[in-house]
């Protein structure tokens, strides 16, 4: 499907810019097959569109952050003996689950997710299956990376895998929601000119912050302070979640701050 730039209304154009691939199949953009019209808009978008988009993002991020908060507080009230350090695995799962649910719902409601090309059931099912497969692979990938970073191979395999699940829900899930099950698009989005919408930019920041947070979380582990949060993998998952929250705050703020300089190329 292609968009005729000449006849498109201004609002359509802006929408195209904001969503990047509003009426286009994502795979085609990436692989460069099919016929697309290049829209290269170098002037900044109108301020109202920006404000609206950033407000959307800020409010959705606020919901996500409060989801993380609720995932910590509600079980603490409901489940006896629940604590972030003591029952760490439970906390990880509750955060991961809530983040997953909130992300999927919000992105579905906002319509940021790439639209499907075909509307057949089989195609949708195959996308769903592929998404799940990629999420599982991402868990395994994170697990491997964490083990390579020095986590014990066997003794704390469950804890390590839970951390991988948490990281997947913080990072990969957002990729799936924003970009669809398309690994090449994921890779491409993390390049200097890879972002095609504000959501891509926010994706870059949130994912980057989460990963860096989890990385920084490993730093206090060797110290001899004997604190409960130094136990593997508490500091890393805490770091990851804190990084995620930071990313949620920073992304809209940064985009708002740089809205004069941000331009997106879309295909």
């Amino acid at each position: 499907m292609s968009v005729n730039v000449g006849t498109a209304q201004a609002s359509d154009l802006a929408r195209l810019h904001v969503y990047g691939r509003e009426s286009d199949d994502h795979d085609h953009i990436i692989l460069g097959r099919g016929s697309q019209v290049q829209v290269d808009l170098t002037r900044p978008l109108s301020s109202t569109m920006w404000d609206q988009e950033i407000r959307h993002m800020a409010s959705s991020h606020a919901i996500m952050a409060s989801g993380v908060f609720m995932a910590t507080v509600v079980p603490a009230v409901l489940v006896p003996g629940f604590s972030v350090y003591g029952t760490h695995l439970l906390w990880q799962y509750s955060v991961a689950g809530v983040v997953a649910v909130v992300n999927i719902t919000l992105f579905w409601l906002l319509g940021v997710s790439p639209p499907t090309k075909k509307h057949t059931i089989t195609y949708k099912v195959s996308r769903l299956v592929r998404s799940c497969l990629y999420l599982l692979l991402s868990c395994l990938f994170f697990h491997t990376v964490v083990v390579l970073y020095g986590a014990p191979l066997l003794e704390t395999a469950l804890e390590t895998f839970s951390l991988a699940v948490l990281l997947t829900s913080l990072t990969t899930l957002r990729c799936v929601c924003v970009l669809g099950p398309n690994v090449q698009a994921w890779i491409r989005v993390f390049s200097r000119h890879g972002a095609m919408s504000v959501w891509d930019t926010s994706l870059q920041m949130v994912v980057g912050c989460s990963v860096v947070g989890a990385w920084l979380g490993a730093f206090p582990i060797p110290l001899d302070w004997d604190r409960p949060w130094q136990v593997w993998p508490v500091s890393c998952s805490l770091g990851g979640v804190i990084g995620y929250l930071t990313g949620l705050v920073v992304a809209p703020a940064w985009i708002h701050w740089h809205r004069k300089h941000l331009t997106y190329k879309s295909k």
Partner: protein
Amino acid sequence: MKRLPILVLLLWLCAMFYVGIFLFVGGFLLVRLEVNRTSTCGDVLLPGGQQGDFCQGQPRFRRAVVLIIDALKIDFARFDPAKKEPRPFENKLPVLEEVTSSKPTHARLFPFRADPPTTTMQRIKGFTTGSLPTFIDVGNNFASSAILEDNLVHQLAEVGKRVVFMGDDTWESLFPKKFHRSLPFPSFNVKDLHTVDNGILQHLYNIMVSDDWDVLVAHFLGVDHCGHRFGPDHPAMADKLTQMDGVIRSVLDRLQNDTLLVVMGDHGMTDTGDHGGESQKETDAAIFLYSPSPLFPASPSQSDPEVVPQTDLVPTLALLLGIPIPYSSVGQVLLPLFPANRQSGGAPAGLSQAEALWINAKQVNRFLETYSSMAKDIPPERLSQLQADFSHLSSKYLSTVKEGRSPTPELVASLQGYLTSVRDTCRATWARFNPAKMAAGIAILACACVLCYVLSEMSSVLVRESGLLRVPLVAATVVGVCVAASQLFTQGYAEGSWCLAAAALSSEVLVLWRARRARKTAAAEVGEVAPRRGWLTPPRFLLTPPLLVLLLRCASLLSDSYVIAEGRVVTFMLFSLSLYVPFHLNWDGLLLPPVHDPLKPAGLLPSPVLSPLAMRRESSTFLACLGVLVGSLYLSLFFHGCREEQGSCQPSPFLSPLSRVQDSRLKNLHYILSLASLGAWTYLLRRWLRHYGNLNSLGGTVFTARWILPLLSVCLGLHWAVSATPEDSFRNLAELISLGQRALPRVAFSLLGLGLALLWLDPLTVFIKTRAAAPVRSPVSLPPPRYRASTGISTQAELHHLIPQLYQRMRRSLEDGEPARVPEGGDRPAVEAYGLGTVYSAPVVLLCGLLGMGLLLLHPEGMSLAFLLLLLEMGALLQMHASSTTLNALQGTHSGGFSVPWTPVVLWSLAATQFFHATGHLPTFPSIQWAAAFVGFPGGHTGTILPASLVTLNTFSSHILFAVACPLLLFWPLVCEVRAGRGGRGGGGEEGEDNAIMEMRLRESPQQFSSALLQLATRYLFINGAQVFASVCAAAILRRHLMVWKVFAPKLMFEASGFLVSSVFVLVGVTLVIRVDVAVGRWFKRLLPDTSG
């Protein structure tokens, strides 16, 4: 290419670092020689000079109880009833005050001043040997911590006294098997306040009432641990001190008349509960002396010393118990414990003051003579002064005794004065940090680091500058001489280290200034305005990820936990940085081929030089290498050793030599694994050389690669087999085995030496093949002969590694006027040069391989797996570097020149540290692999240089290998260039042919070559130097830290020696490259007249 200036500059830089390290270490580490002589009963000269057995006499006390309360500060022991609200550590030991006031002739409490370093181990050494232990007591046994100097425990055991010990297990390692009975308890866990104390209390009273002891030593740790954990101002300290009060009371109740009680602290503590340094709070402990029989002839008087130095306990206890004073003691007897005059009759009164002092002075003088004959660190004029004093005193004393008079109080006072001045001299020499020297060392090191950074950033400018060092060196000499002269003038003697420091600093400052000026003139030449803060790159450039990782690494050296976990920390950082590389490439859009977009206007973006296919190939190579790197990083974790601080750590099974493996099947498996990796090492090296056509010629290097390398590996394999053979199972072959153990490593060493010599003498690996058909001598057409840098004999390989048009360039540069018209195509190359493309890297690779084998010989057999991993990781790092350079270059973002960016250099240097740990080494003295000294010399050595160098080579093997191979970082992108060129041709570009000249590019632009080489070497030096600087700072800042002598000081020593070794081998690598360059230059000169006629 500028050869000599580069070498001189690098040498000078290294020298600056050396001076800085030398100064700092001279101020920080206190070194003393151990005198391994012991006193005997016979050589204690009795007063009056008559010979006799001193130990036969009736001693003043038969038994002694020594209670050591670790960190018993004098403030803890004092009691001030006037205090209304005592702090937790005050007034908690009332027993001491009660006893001293109620029985003034039985008990006395003194401040007890320790000498720095105020750590428990050094203090135990101090108050048993009576000497001033320093951080390094150079003795003949590094490996164990046992005290070899003469000491009280030894002397007590010699005369047959039963010494019973309980408490801190440090004693057990200091005096192994010296005790009649020993009850050690673990002291390591600082958080544990009660284990040691409760353990002692379980046994103390039972043993005291039994009769199976003469001297009882109990070392309580609770107070010290409480200080470390909570600080002195904490209720827990009050509880602990109250408990100690109870202990002292119970011991007092059980004492008998012939027993002496000593309650003492080994050191004090600061207000935060730490110790180790030299502040008065740390040094002032308490000592409490008591005996049920009258101990002091008089009640406290003015003549009592205000402070008792810790060394004085040894001679006092020795003479009170009737044993000889330990040989190296420099203490003086506590006079209040001795009667002024010998009382005749009655109870055993022991020696009089003058007699005790005389014995003491005699012993101290004897020690001083022995020590000054061994070491020269006591200033000679001071020494002669002391000796003159002693001879004067001894003649005076002897004449007094001969005349039968009792010595005058003046004589006693002057004997005391003599002993005090000896101790002060020794203390000034051994037991004082020198903050001025430390500061000077830090300043010089910091300047050297800055210089390294500046030089590496502006190497291209500085290479053009001639005589950069001439003025600074002259100035340095002048300044040094001036300082020496002024010192001679004012003090009468010159101290070499200060002259060095002044010279180094002045030359550093001058070079910085010259570099700044050179930068300005260079900028003016180009025509740009010199940036305001330009000559030092702005700080934000320092925050690029590779330098950030380096910063983190340096910061980690300031924390004891990170130093303890260093192996894993470095691996973590290496892994992070190597993951950063693909992310960065992807961020620049270089990892995936760009989207092909037919509708895009051609002019908007520069068309990609590299086809998507080639790019995809390059990135998959990159990712594969990343996989290899990550794999070897992970596997290398299995070869780590364990520090004692790492509780639940199991050292790698590969670290134990094969001969210790009991299970024969496991042994065979290990052996086969080691052999396989040895074979793989050899095969990979030869494979690489063959691939690039470096095995064709007949030179020395090729001979080394062809024959010496495999022979060396055979030798190694045989040596492992022989040394792993259990001796009892092949009894009849025992002689053969011992011969093999001696001969095989020696053969390997000599092969290695031969190989290195050949490599140095004839480093060229180029094989020239002249085609007979070529019309060489036709003057009319003069067909330009072409050179090929071929990889192998096969024609296919030739095609890939062709070096065309080189000759034309050479000609153009040599014979300026001649027109350089090259007929395109048509004639066949007349001369083919195999291996010309890798002429620089081949000798470096070979040197690295040879050295690797030699170093492997010094390691346990299992480490060959680690060495194979090292080789793989090196290769992966180089290939990653090459791939990313190619990707950058082909996207047009390459800056030109051969400059190596920071990331690979930082990775390279971190990998050196990583493999330091992954070859089973640790920055602690007990973990040094002493077995390396006996490879090839199973019978031991006569000298010390050979074993020391063998152990050094073993310890820093990974530093050596990575430092020597450092120039490869410069060559590898050029070596791999040919593949990119091929890819380019496939994609339609026609530059492929031009690309394929590999390392000959370096000869085309010698200026850039030398600047890149200088930059690479300075960057590597900078990274290593920054780490040394960080650990120097750690040692200087944390010199009061609990772990300073356990963690930071050894780390400093290892880091500094690692830097020394690394820098030397970087110089070796650079020298080899320069040697090759000379040889290549000669080769071309020889060739050109030949071919052009």
